[in-house]
């Protein structure tokens, strides 16, 4: 058994002068305090990576910097799925008795620590070095390819995709830590600069500075406990050229295994936290996970289904698209928000019932998937 005992999150956007280690430390300090623990209680550390400050031993670099001597520590790299993959590993580590309190931390000064061109170019390297990267694609282009095919097969339009950007922005407006604070419309998304068609600037998450952290513990530390009920992964490919058919993607495999591991069904879920690097990513994953039928996720957005007061509140902090994306920490913000919702601490963003939550992360080009169910226990 394992519990998410504490969470920490910085604002996303510009943190001029902060290093990746600074942002990780800030988030870690918040998470440890939130769990009611002290630095010395942490006996395991899992961290992600920083494209600004690559290092072959980031976990021990961080541990020394932060002032912890853990009995278990290393980095994990699964692209955008890293945060949930670390949480899954921490869950198994505390369940197996390897550690009592594992600190999971990610943070990067990706916006101010390097040029936007450098970020785009660093991320494009998830492609095949000989057969793809030489052609000059970008991450938006990899997802643009997925988008044109998905739109072709299921009759999804660019206006449909724009709905997801509008929804995430609407949610971000209620969170002071979000990178963007101006409302947008479908027309704004449609008129935004083309990046890799059919994806335009507002279909894409931004590059951000920020940090996020959680503590995963063997025993709960607070009155309202958030338990990891079950989780699973699936890895079908790395490169979009080698991706399986759209009907055989990894999200469907990982959610099926996570349902089995947790004994839960989609009908049990009250809150959803789903990876949203691009509008197409969110549209596809919602349908892969069974939170909407094929080609119908956008209609559910229009009907208010995923609103704060809707039947299935989704990414109420604004997601990667509007809270921001600082790399590994990016999708960790989804879990932080989920925890706040489950423990009734989301303030003006609080939903009616977040007793059972489904989280899903995606790394690469829909390459690596982690699905996780959390439940509140009192």
């Amino acid at each position: 058994m394992s519990f998410v005992t504490g969470v920490g999150l910085t604002s996303y956007g510009k943190h001029e002068g902060s290093s990746s280690l600074d942002l990780m430390s800030k988030a870690a300090e918040l998470a440890i305090a939130d769990a009611g623990l002290k630095r010395a209680d942490i006996d395991g550390i899992l961290c992600g990576y920083s494209t600004v400050s690559p290092h072959i031993m980031l976990a021990t670099v961080f541990a020394e910097h932060f002032g912890i001597r853990p009995s278990y520590a290393h980095a994990v790299q699964v692209g955008g799925a890293t945060g949930l993959a670390m949480t899954m590993l921490a869950h198994h580590l505390v369940d197996a008795g390897v550690a009592k309190h594992v600190l999971v931390v990610g943070g990067e000064n990706r916006l101010t620590g390097q040029s936007r061109d450098a970020s785009i170019q660093a991320l494009a390297q998830v492609g095949h070095p000989d057969y793809e990267v030489t052609l000059g694609p970008t991450i938006p282009a990899y997802y643009g390819l997925v988008a044109t095919r998905y739109m072709h097969e299921y009759g999804v339009t660019q206006e449909d995709l724009a709905e997801f950007a509008v929804l995430m922005r609407k949610h971000a407006l209620t969170h002071p830590g979000a990178q963007f604070h101006d409302p947008i419309t479908v027309a704004d998304v449609m008129a935004s600069k083309p990046v890799a068609m059919p994806l335009k600037l507002l279909d894409c998450c931004p590059v951000s500075d920020g940090g996020a952290a959680f503590v995963i513990s063997h025993d709960g530390t607070g009155d309202t406990r958030v338990r990891v009920r079950g989780c699973a992964q699936a890895h079908t490919h790395q490169h979009v050229t080698a991706a399986p058919a759209l009907s055989e993607l990894g999200a469907e495999i990982s959610i099926a295994k996570a349902k089995q591991a947790s004994g839960l069904a989609i009908s049990d879920v009250r809150y959803a936290a789903v990876y949203d690097s691009f509008t197409i990513t969110l549209a596809m994953l919602l349908e892969d996970l069974g939170l909407a039928k094929r080609g119908e996720a956008a209609a559910r957005v229009r009907a208010g289904y995923f609103d704060q007061n809707g039947e299935m509140p989704l990414n109420t902090h604004g997601g990667l698209l509007s809270y921001g994306h600082c790399g590994v920490g990016g999708a960790m913000a989804h879990l932080v928000e989920t925890h706040l919702q489950m423990t009734g601490r989301a303030g003006n963003r609080q939903v009616r019932d977040a007793s059972v939550a489904l989280l899903h992360g995606d790394g690469g080009v829909l390459s690596s998937h982690v699905s996780m169910f959390l439940e509140r226990v009192r």
């Binding site: 997925v146 095919r149 890799a196």
Partner: protein
């Protein structure tokens, strides 16, 4: 492995793929073994360059000085007649399902495959 073909990734005007003598699988990314069954019994072939467009994405925002000089350029996934999928460049007007044929062009200082619609 027999009959090595020098392809566009090595600067030659050719598209190459491998077939497995043990299980019959075909693969585009060159390896010394079959990714489906592990057998080293591979034969390399030169592809015809004919195929069907599977997906497209017109890149309008590039990230390096060399690639910025080319925007907009169309990145395409093509299902070749030989049965493997590949990424390449293509005409900006290409649509999913178009029958295409490959030629080669220079892009950012390298030779790359470029697909055009078959009339």
């Amino acid at each position: 492995m027999s009959g090595q073909v020098v392809d566009w990734t090595k600067g030659a005007e050719a598209i190459a793929y491998q077939t497995c003598g043990a299980c019959g699988a075909r693969q585009y990314f060159r390896r010394s073994f079959c990714a489906a069954c592990g057998s080293p019994d591979l034969t390399e072939h030169r592809a015809s360059g004919a195929g069907t467009v599977y997906a497209t994405s017109l890149v309008c925002r590039a990230a390096t000085p060399e690639t910025k000089a080319h925007v907009p350029y169309n990145i395409v996934l093509v299902d070749t007649d030989e049965g493997f999928r590949m990424m390449a460049h293509g005409d900006n007007a290409l649509a999913i399902g178009d029958k295409v044929a490959a030629r080669f062009t220079q892009f950012a200082g390298r030779l790359v495959p470029y697909f055009e619609k078959v009339k």
